[in-house]
């Protein structure tokens, strides 16, 4: 068992290192291959008026004229030990996990991300719970009553859910329940610590919108998996024991069905934690996703790089958690 954990952990760290390298290469090396000179590169990073002096200062500050290996080494060193950037007489002290500073706002990337984490976390976790529970429940009922009206309607809605993009459902939600009917206040983020009720009320619609998309997928997955498991021999054994149908379904059939669902849930949650871009944008929630969108429109490379690495970190983390949970769910995975 400790071997298993260590191996998973090692694999996760390795993956992060590779992602860091590849992302860095995409932003700092590929443009050079495309024929950009160091000066052109620096022009993009200056931010405001690109005077020749400002460009030269940027090159010096970021070490753009140094070999790529050295640049990468400094970037990695910044993550572990922090870095300093000089602006004429001023210096920015970028503390330990330093992912650089925004070329647009001259703010350090890491604290910016951290300040937006609660928004994204609240959104992702709330929606995650809703779509997991809702999707599984609908899937189970659909499978047990296969062919019923419920099953058909639920699967039709699920198909719609999978196909409709969030900027459509989100706008629909804003247009009718909020603006036309006035059932809800305009969604927004209130810190949980300040006002729990307001927190839940403000995030309710974003949760539903984000969860709808995923719940649809989970319902379909659960239904398919459940139907397969219900055909297994051990389900017949359970019935032959005299168990009630409720127990057969909820105890014997559900657990094997959930095994693959947990795996995708880990992936999906990791993805959303790294920024639910569309949802945050549609509902104007100031989370990581929105931060990333703004950075992309302004070619703010350090921010993009930082958010990408953060997203990768959450995906790797969630996968690690799933891998560690797996032996608890399925004893066959346990290493002797």
């Amino acid at each position: 068992m400790p071997t298993y954990i260590l191996r998973r952990l090692g694999a996760g760290l390795l993956l992060l290192a590779v992602v860091t390298m590849v992302t860095f290469a995409i932003f700092y090396v590929v443009p050079k291959w495309a024929g950009r000179t160091t000066e052109q590169l620096a022009t993009m990073y200056v931010g405001r008026a690109p005077t020749p002096e400002a460009i030269q200062a940027t090159i010096d500050r970021l070490g753009l004229d140094k070999p790529v290996i050295v640049q990468f080494g400094e970037f990695v060193r910044g993550i572990f030990f922090g870095a300093q950037y000089r602006f004429g007489r001023d210096t920015i002290d970028c503390a330990a996990p330093c992912f650089g500073y925004s070329f647009q706002t001259y703010q350090e990337v890491f604290p910016e991300i951290v300040s937006r984490l609660p928004v994204t976390f609240s959104l992702a976790l709330g929606a995650g719970i809703i779509w997991l529970v809702g999707g599984i429940a609908v899937g189970v009922v659909s499978a047990v009553w296969k062919g019923s009206v419920f099953d058909r309607v639920a699967m039709a809605i699920a198909l719609a859910g999978v196909s409709l993009p969030i900027f459509f459902t989100g706008l629909l939600v804003l247009a009718f329940p909020v603006h036309a009917w006035g059932w809800f206040l305009t969604p927004g983020y209130v810190p949980l610590t300040r006002d729990p009720a307001g927190w839940a009320a403000g995030l309710f619609l974003p949760w539903i919108t984000l969860a709808f998309l995923h719940a649809a997928m989970y319902a379909r997955q659960t239904r398919a998996g459940m139907l397969e498991v219900l055909g297994e021999d051990y389900i017949r054994t359970a019935r032959a024991k005299g168990l009630s149908e409720r127990k057969v379904v909820l105890k014997h059939a559900l657990r094997p069905t959930l095994t693959p669902i947990v795996t995708i849930f880990g992936l999906d949650l990791g993805l959303v934690l790294g920024g639910a871009v569309l949802t945050e944008q549609v509902f104007s929630l100031n989370g990581i996703g929105r931060y990333a969108v703004n950075a992309i429109t302004q070619s703010d490379l350090p921010v993009i790089l930082g958010v990408t690495l953060f997203g990768a970190f959450f995906i790797v983390l969630c996968n690690l958690v799933v891998d560690l949970l797996y032996p608890l769910i399925d004893p066959r995975v346990r290493v002797r």
Partner: protein, 606 residues
């Protein structure tokens, strides 16, 4: 019916089970009646599609919720199963009648410990029992069915047990509530012979000690013979014969039972006897094979009688046992071994596992070498090494005097036409999207034949030769029965006029009567084409009837190799003797005698 005093514990009267399909209703069981007295033993025997499994599910009321329509009466422990409410039915299942299923690898829940599953079986019906009491009972039941150190093993998961042990666990689960009837549907079909014998012995012992009635459902008359008092023979949903097991087996009244009995391979019949029988029937052009769907059986006789010119490269039809004259060695195997790395040691280190070690034999032209062994004995690994589908870790293999152990695949390829293989499962060994004609003809194309017309002609000829019709060329495999598919597989192997055919369990997926026909075909083809066979199987009787010599394998080693009659009549190794004692026999008295001997041996061994 004859015994009027005790009330039967199971009574089935005029049972009909109908499944509505798009092509009209299919009647899976039609007018079946039988009774089982308390503590009695009933065997239900039939080939696939006879309705025996449908019957056993109906007894449990497990058709509820499906589309099946059930009429007639089923009474279990005085309760009418057909009209019972769902709640009454659940109260009956597991408490009055417990069921043991065919495949023990699939019939236990993989994610709960066997203790949990046993405890649950008790507590559904005895909610007042505490978990501790139930657990104690589970340990007792596991002990009863012969699971070693049950107190510890009760916390294990099903995947930590072998197939035979899992079947014991399923039986233990059935015992939890002291049911009046144990219904076992093909409980040993997926198991090795020695394990099969142990499970059947256990069921018999439980029936006697606990006074439980036993209903044993099987496709194999020999499995049932030693364990029940009465037997029902089913065919197409109808009970063609029903009576005392001794009477039915020694003096069967119905032609179908007679045919079924004749088709059961018997260990005591030697190859010479079987060949003599086959040859005389062949010469007389006797009617045969009608059971397998009619088409083609006449064609076999016709093609043979016409004396089709022997294909090039084929020896003249061998007369008598090929061992006597000119023992020309076709295949020489020396010290062959194969190692696999098994992962899963501490820190992910792998350990070595020798699937085959130090095996050597000579295979002479025109003979059949049988390789018997239980699962995991290495017989399939060995045959795949001979095919060079697997490379041996050590040792040498010579084919016609040429060392093929390590020659390059490119140079191996021309030799491939000389060695062909027939696989176990005809349902999965044929590509469902390729027509039969193409499946057979592909090999010719691969070997460089370009003329489509001549490929067609040869495939058609061969289809006819293996007992199918040339017109089947453009059909897809799903249109054929298991036996017919295996004929297609044989034709595919034959098209290249090979010298050696390796048959890996070629008949174990087939019904007995179909099995018999395929074995006959293989033997005829050997005569006509001068083929050499390596015949790999776990069924001792089948192996004896087709083999000149036999190798008995165990744990990757050959424990005994020699003339087949000599080995069967006078086995030298303990293991071979145990195997032979475990093989099911048709005579109920002999079956009981062998059982007593096994029990004694086990007692001595323990």
């Amino acid at each position: 019916m004859s015994e009027s005093a005790p009330k039967p514990v199971v009574r089935v009267d005029d049972l009909r089970v109908t499944f509505p399909t798009m092509d009209g209703d299919v009647r899976a069981v039609d007018g079946l009646s039988f009774e089982v007295p308390a503590g009695g033993g009933l065997g239900i025997v039939g080939e696939s599609g006879s309705g025996k499994s449908v019957t056993s599910l109906a007894l449990m009321g497990l058709h509820r919720g499906s589309r099946a329509r059930i009429t007639g009466a089923i009474e279990v422990a005085g309760r009418d199963v057909v009209s019972a409410t769902d709640r009454q039915l659940r109260a009956m299942r597991g408490d009055d009648i417990a069921m043991v299923f065919q495949d023990p690898m699939q019939s236990l829940h993989p994610q709960y410990t066997i203790g949990d599953q046993l405890v649950e079986a008790l507590r559904v019906h005895r909610p007042q029992a505490s978990r501790a009491e139930a657990l104690a009972r589970a340990v007792g039941a596991l002990d009863r069915v012969g699971i070693p150190s049950p107190a510890r093993r009760v916390n294990s998961y099903p995947h930590e047990f072998s197939g035979g042990m899992r079947q014991r666990v399923v039986i233990a689960m059935g015992l939890m509530c002291d049911p009046k009837v144990l219904l076992a549907d093909e409980p040993t079909t997926a198991l090795d012979v020695t394990v099969q014998a142990r499970i059947l012995d256990l069921l018999d012992e439980l029936r006697r000690d606990l006074g439980m009635a036993l209903i044993l459902v099987s496709h194999d008359l020999a499995v049932v013979a030693g364990s029940v008092d009465e037997v029902v023979v089913m065919r197409h949903g109808v009970a063609v014969e029903r009576g005392d097991v001794r009477t039915v087996l020694s003096a069967p009244g119905h032609p179908y039972t007679q045919a079924l009995l004749a088709a059961v391979p018997r260990v005591e019949v030697s190859r010479a006897q079987r060949r003599a029988r086959d040859r005389s029937e062949r010469a007389g052009g006797a009617d045969r094979g009608g059971r397998e769907g009619g088409s083609g059986s006449g064609a076999v006789a016709g093609a043979t009688a016409a004396g089709r010119p022997a294909p090039e490269g084929a020896a003249a039809p061998a007369a008598g046992t090929p061992g006597e004259q000119g023992r020309e060695v076709l295949l020489r195997v020396r010290g062959v071994g194969r190692r696999f790395k098994v992962r899963g040691g501490p820190w992910g280190r792998s350990t070595d596992f020798w699937a085959v070690k130090d095996v050597g034999f000579d295979l002479y032209k025109g003979e059949t070498l049988g390789i018997v062994g239980e699962s995991g004995s290495g017989k399939s690994t060995l045959s795949r090494m001979v095919m060079r589908l697997l490379e041996p870790t050590e040792g040498t293999i010579e084919f016609e005097g040429r060392d093929i152990t390590r020659i390059a695949e490119r140079r191996m390829r021309p030799l491939r036409r000389d060695v062909q293989m027939v696989f176990q499962n005809p349902y999965s060994s044929l590509n469902p999207r390729v027509t039969v004609g193409d499946a057979i003809g592909t090999a010719l194309r691969v070997q460089g034949e370009r003329d489509t017309g001549s490929i067609r002609t040869r495939v058609r000829e061969l289809l006819e030769r293996v007992g199918l019709e040339p017109g089947h060329y453009n059909r897809f495999p799903h249109a054929f029965s298991g036996g017919q598919r295996q004929r297609i597989a044989i034709a595919r192997a034959l098209i290249l006029k090979p010298k050696l055919i390796i048959c890996d369990e070629p008949v174990s997926a087939l019904d007995v009567s179909t099995q018999d026909q395929v074995l006959r075909l293989l033997s005829e083809l050997q005569d006509d084409f001068g083929l050499t066979y390596i015949f790999v199987a776990h069924d001792l009787a089948v192996v004896r009837q087709v083999s000149d010599r036999v190798a008995v394998m165990r744990k990757g080693e050959v424990v005994e190799l020699g003339d087949s009659d000599a080995i069967y009549e006078n086995p030298q190794s303990d293991y071979t003797r145990r195997l032979l004692n475990a093989a099911p026999v048709l005579d109920p008295d002999q079956a009981r005698h062998l059982r007593a001997e096994r029990v004694r041996e086990r007692a001595e061994g323990a």
